[in-house]
């Protein structure tokens, strides 16, 4: 047994006294440090700057990423993350803006957030939007808390059940419990839709008065548009419940349909899926929520509104609140033709944007006001596509998925024979190669240079491989992926061991997860004196 890591731990490449930074000396008179409060030991690594750079560069090379190739991870929308967005996020006016800057000094940021709220409302067909949730799951949490409070305010606090289809993402049922409500799970039918009999039974039987609402993913986690969606919505509304849409799959819906117009009451976006903000190896995300007028007063806050209307041709200096105060350290600001003035005419005073807390808000979900760095990337992304282009994102995402589906149907079992949305599910299993499972196919794909699809989700399809190519992939890339999948299907019959032992070319082989959980080595820091 070897005990070498691919790349030694940062703790293991240091030497006492080595430094990775060059810091200034203290330029003020020193005071005495309070000895009784000081720590003795700070067991951090001692490495040089060059060592740090090489260490992390080497680690980075052990990763697969969108920048390297197709990443068809269903439900995650691994589309290209535009580089211009990274540049924008690093502009000093954004990156070095303190979250508690006075409103007058953060009009740019507030304007951007207000525009994004408007655009996200427009795309989803909702009246009001809050950008504060940090990720999809937090958006869900906000949505269910809003539904809960809505019923309580109407004297219907006994409504404590949220209907959740068994195809739902795990965050949906987990959210319901976190909000102090209860899950009533609904089965799916053979078309991948919610089982209408079960829905009617729940909404019209003795549970009727306890129905608070329902969470549905559209298109479903199978990538299928629920063709009975209008009936589902009507049935739940009839029972007095509200409809929550999990908007993780909005890449299939933009300018194809507005959830608010279908009758949903609330939904969350994942800006880190639909609007190209990077997934960052696990996060950050951003989970904006949109609501109709029933729930608008309950939105998590703060949200941005115009707190003082603009005015035309006033005597006041133009855009007094926006432009570079002549003070500051004297950098010139872009004051002319500022985008903030778009709503006002030349020489007019633009409106003053500010934060407000909605009247009956469920409260704050985060310190400050959301993952602003993701807001500005989503803003830049929507700005690039604009009114005519956003629909193309969805159209080509759906085209790519259906193309892959049509080609892969020849070698793999596709459980639902319908056109799909932006993703679709395959069964990663062959009757004549019973020992090969979806996981083996996934691992073997790594040898062909691809990231695997999502495995074993949704739970209702055995051996599920959920495939989502996104709109940013070329036909050539898709064809290569199909070719790899076809070769793997062949290998499954000819040499199943090849798959069961895959990957063969990745930096490491399959890992012992049982050992990880049993031995629980979670930290390599030298133990402190306690």
């Amino acid at each position: 047994m070897t005990t070498e890591l691919l790349q030694p731990l940062i703790y293991d490449i240091g030497s006492p006294g080595r430094m990775g930074v060059n810091l200034p000396e203290c330029d003020v008179p020193k005071v005495e440090l309070p000895a009784a409060l000081m720590r003795e030991d700070l067991p951090l690594p001692e490495v040089s700057e060059v060592q740090v750079v090489r260490h992390f560069v080497k680690l980075s090379k052990l990763n697969y990423s969108i920048d390297q190739g197709l990443y068809p991870l269903g439900s995650c929308t691994m589309k290209y993350n535009p580089k211009i967005n990274e540049d924008a996020a690093r502009l000093p006016g954004f990156a070095q803006l303190h979250p508690l800057t006075d409103e007058s000094g953060s009009q740019g940021a507030l304007f951007l957030m207000r525009e994004l709220q408007k655009w996200l409302g427009e795309i989803s067909g909702f009246d009001a939007v809050s950008l504060t949730p940090a990720a999809g799951a937090q958006g869900e949490f906000a949505g269910i808390l809003m539904i809960r409070q809505y019923h309580r305010d109407r004297g219907e606090g006994q409504r404590d059940l949220i209907l959740v289809p068994n195809s739902a993402h795990g965050t949906n049922p987990a959210t319901v419990t976190m909000a102090g409500m209860h899950v009533h799970e609904l089965p799916s039918n053979d078309r991948g839709n919610v089982d209408m009999d079960a829905l009617h039974a729940a909404c019209e039987g003795e549970l009727r008065d306890r129905i608070a609402g329902m969470m549905v993913t559209v298109p479903s986690t199978l990538g299928l548009f629920e063709s009975t969606i209008l009936e589902v919505i009507a049935t739940v509304h009839d029972a007095g419940g509200l409809m929550y849409m999990d908007g993780a799959n909005m890449n299939a819906l933009m300018a194809a349909v507005k959830p608010g117009e279908l009758g949903f009451d609330v939904m969350h976006y994942n800006l880190h899926k639909t609007f190209s903000t990077p997934h960052g190896g696990g996060g950050p995300g951003s989970g904006a929520v949109g609501v109709n007028d029933k729930l608008a007063p309950y939105l998590p806050g703060p949200i941005v509104e115009i707190v003082e209307e603009g005015a035309a041709d006033t005597e006041e200096p133009v855009g007094a609140t926006l432009e570079s105060p002549e003070h500051g350290r004297g950098m010139t600001r872009a004051s002319q033709g500022s985008p903030l003035q778009t709503s006002a005419g030349e020489g007019d005073r633009p409106p003053l944007y500010g934060f407000v807390m909605p009247e009956k808000s469920i409260g704050r979900l985060k310190a400050f006001h959301g993952n602003f760095g993701m807001h500005l990337r989503a803003f830049a992304y929507i700005r690039v596509y604009g009114d005519s282009g956003i629909r193309d994102v969805t159209r080509y995402a759906v085209l790519n998925a259906n193309y892959l589906r049509a080609k892969l149907m020849r070698t793999y079992k596709v459980p639902y024979p319908r056109y799909c949305g932006h993703e679709f599910v395959l069964e990663g299993h062959f009757e004549d190669a019973a020992d090969v499972h979806a996981l083996d196919i996934s691992k073997r794909l790594m040898d062909y240079g691809f990231h695997p699809p999502t495995n074993y989700f949704p739970l209702i399809v055995p051996e599920a491989l959920l495939i989502e190519p996104t709109e940013t992939e070329t036909k050539v890339d898709l064809d290569e992926f199909v070719e790899a999948m076809e070769r793997i299907a062949e290998e499954a019959r000819r040499d199943p061991e090849l798959l069961r032992n895959a990957p063969h070319t990745a930096p490491v082989r399959r890992l012992d997860e049982v050992r990880a959980a049993k031995e629980l080595v979670l930290c390599c820091a030298p133990a402190l004196s306690r």
Partner: protein, 444 residues
């Protein structure tokens, strides 16, 4: 078509393969009455135009490159070595997903494992998770762990009023659906007053270290008192302060949470930041969120993998204690690179710079007529100044001189009108501090 690569010819070939004439036919399951609505959005823009617009919007903000900044209150302007951003910009890191496929994610996994390790070193805890959304939600998640650890038999959570006001708001938002009481923070209770509230119905007690006012309380008897009552001690700690001050582990904390932003994450108007969460071994299986562990691969090679997975929402569903999925992974990478660069000696040096500069500023301001600094307790890099005029006025005057002044405490604490929370970090050169003092003096 921006980032969409299809040529008309390819699109045609693909449609033939699918067996439809147009893309729009693929949307037949969408109710016809609602299909293809018009969107009222601005027209598309070229990359050049977008770049110019983003610059213009960004410059309508008063930022730390143009202004000297003395504001903290939960978000801190610290030095970030250039290397941090260069590592963050590697596409292999920022365009990867959560490391569900460990064979091709060892980079993210090892970097996160090292982050966990360095957080343990800093806090004196045994394990840390891969991150929560921010300091506030870390505290909210700590409450869940404490309630679970005391088997939901205890219904009382004691929070100090000197915990960041937003964090306390978030704690209440998170737990509004539960049958528990959050108490302790409505008055001005000192730590000894909080200790008196402990009883057999208390699940946990939380204090901030240094507290929201920058001060460090005498916490030497706190842990014993909390543990005697059978409750958990949670500390909300500024990791930068832990560079020089005793670790919460040494002070007996069971869970340490807080905002990792001071370590390599820019101010960024409040996010994305980094909620860190560290815990004692005893409670490690109750931790929420992702956690990375070491193991072996099929060849016996050491490697890393997400572990304790059965706690998480995708497996445990409605029985999971938290719904967290996406976290703040890239910010954990920032902190990892930052801590590695700073190391044992660099981080302590930065901590000391903060301490000395803040004390220099505090002493100078305390000498001014009309001002007084609260020196009743030791403090780190923030302190409370009683001012002779409303804080809004003072900040207006400072802004006119290119300085973003302190945080107006009256906004959250009714008894602290005309009190300003000033923050001084290693970024504030002596001349900047002297100028601040001079202008304040002129306003006295």
């Amino acid at each position: 078509m921006s980032y969409i690569p299809h040529t008309p010819f390819e699109t045609q070939q693909m449609l033939v393969e699918i067996g439809v004439a147009t893309i729009d036919e693929l949307f037949e399951a969408v109710p016809a009455t609602h299909r293809f609505p018009k969107l009222d959005l601005p027209p598309p823009m070229s990359e050049m135009e977008v770049a110019a617009e983003m610059l213009a919007i960004s410059e309508a903000n008063d930022h730390a490159q143009d202004f000297a900044i003395f504001r903290g209150a939960g978000a801190y302007h610290h030095f970030i070595p250039s290397v941090v951003n260069h590592m963050l910009l590697r596409g292999e890191f920022y365009t990867a997903y959560t490391p569900y496929q460990p064979e091709i994610s060892q980079g993210t996994l090892q970097a996160t494992y090292e982050y966990q390790s360095m957080m343990c070193a800093l806090t004196g805890m045994d394990a840390a998770n891969a991150s929560h959304y921010d300091g506030a939600t870390s505290l909210a998640e700590a409450i869940t762990v404490a309630l679970e650890a005391t088997r939901h038999r205890r219904k009382k959570v004691i929070l100090s009023h000197a915990i960041h006001p937003h964090y306390r708001e978030v704690a209440r938002t998170y737990h509004q659906g539960r049958d528990i009481r959050i108490i302790g923070d409505r008055g001005r209770g000192e730590v000894v007053d909080l200790m008196e509230m402990l009883d057999e119905n208390t699940a946990m007690l939380a204090v901030q270290y240094p507290d929201f006012f920058g001060q460090i309380d005498d916490l030497s008897t706190l842990a014993d008192a909390v543990h005697d009552a059978g409750a958990l001690l949670v500390m909300v700690a500024n990791p930068m302060a832990l560079s020089i001050f005793k670790s919460p582990g040494e002070l007996g904390a069971d869970i340490v949470v807080g905002e990792g932003q001071p370590m390599g994450v820019p101010l960024g108007y409040g996010g994305p930041y980094l909620g860190y969460f560290a815990i004692r071994q005893k409670y490690v299986r109750r931790i929420a969120g992702r956690i990375i562990g070491e193991t072996l691969d099929a060849d016996g090679k050491r490697a890393f993998v997400m572990t304790l997975r059965p706690r998480e929402q995708d497996i445990k569903r409605e029985r999971a204690t938290s719904n967290i999925c996406t976290n703040q992974g890239l910010m954990a990478l920032s902190a990892s690179v930052y801590m590695a660069l700073m190391g044992k000696n660099g981080l302590r040096h930065v901590g000391e710079l903060n301490y000395h500069k803040a004390h220099y500023a505090a002493n100078e301001i305390n000498r001014l007529d009309g001002y007084s600094v609260d020196m009743s307790k030791p403090f780190f890099n923030e302190f409370v100044v009683a001012c002779p005029r409303p804080i809004a006025r003072i900040n207006e005057a400072l802004l006119a001189e290119g300085i973003i002044g302190g945080y107006d405490l009256g906004a959250h604490y009714y008894h602290l009108t005309d009190r300003m929370l000033l923050c001084v970090t290693e970024m504030n050169a002596k001349e900047e501090i002297d100028r601040l003092v001079e202008i304040l003096g002129g306003l006295g």
